[in-house]
Amino acid sequence: MASASSSLEVLAIEERPHVLAVDDSLVDRKLVERLLTNSACKVTTAENGQRALEFLGLGDGQNTFKNGDAKVNLIITDYCMPGMTGYELLKKVKESSNLKEIPVVIVSSENVPTRIKKCLEEGAQEFMLKPLKQSDVKKLRWHMKEFSHPCNGKLCMGR
């Protein structure tokens, strides 16, 4: 159940931005989920790039983007993952005409300038260092696409 701090700040479930968080580490998935939920986001987690693509409607054998539930306002992905890296996932998203508008944030525990440059050049919105804190996640709100249900002229801000 979503908790509300004041009547002006209540976001109905449908109005919360939906974030897809991809990380092979269970600890980090739990952490990012909590961080995002605390910032009034709806979160779906995926343990690898393949699962993430399936959720987005780009899995093998899928050829249409599923509307409705799968609508995602931000993808946040770890860089170092076995199989498909976060960079490879970023590329696939940006190559898709349906999904390329979704902002993608890459996170990594390693501060490697060439890696950062590569991701930003490929279209990543931002590159963040792990471990993530609440202040990092609050910044992410500004990268998210418009909510699917506009708020009748009121400015809806999370906590």
Binding site: V27, K30, L31, S109, K133, Q134
Partner: protein, 152 residues
């Protein structure tokens, strides 16, 4: 009331010592900030996930280092994962042990790696027992009807 105050003092002293001695860093504080009435067990849950994960990693590391021909890339991958998760929960000394370990992987130094694994196991064990003590203190405070002091 005295019992609660004493337990709270013990908790504060113990927590302070964990930070002072480098067992925990700011990331642990960040975890605690994420805990609230709607998620009262968040820290314990994350920490438990960490220890489940890390037991497996330690076993995998021991196996990898016992091979005739050690696959240092594989060893490094395990240590990298360990470093990541220990960093995420604020287990500073465990994380530092991982950093040292990775250096020996890069050097492809088998004895160095074995020593590092022993050190990592030691730090891991220490972290586990200290967090268990910390959580026990929290439970005692709550059981006595008190509230757990917020460490800022």
């Amino acid at each position: 009331m005295d019992a609660i105050v004493q337990l709270q003092r013990q908790f504060v002293d113990y927590t302070t010592s964990l930070y002072r001695d480098g067992f925990l860093d700011d990331q642990f504080t960040q975890l605690q900030k994420l805990q609230d009435e709607s998620n009262p067990d968040f820290v314990v849950e994350v920490v438990n996930l960490f220890f489940e994960d890390s037991e497996k990693l330690l076993n995998n590391l021991a196996t990898a280092l016992q091979q005739q021909i050690v696959d240092y890339k594989q060893v490094d991958a395990h240590v990298h994962q360990f470093k990541g998760s220990s960093s995420s929960i604020g287990a500073q000394r465990v994380k530092n042990a991982c950093v040292a370990f990775r250096n020996y992987c890069e050097e492809r130094d088998p004895e160095g790696c074995v020593r590092c694994l022993q050190q990592l196991k030691r730090e891991h064990y220490l972290m586990k027992s200290k967090l268990e003590t910390l959580f026990r203190l929290e439970q005692q405070i709550l059981a006595a009807g008190g509230s757990v002091p917020m460490m800022t």
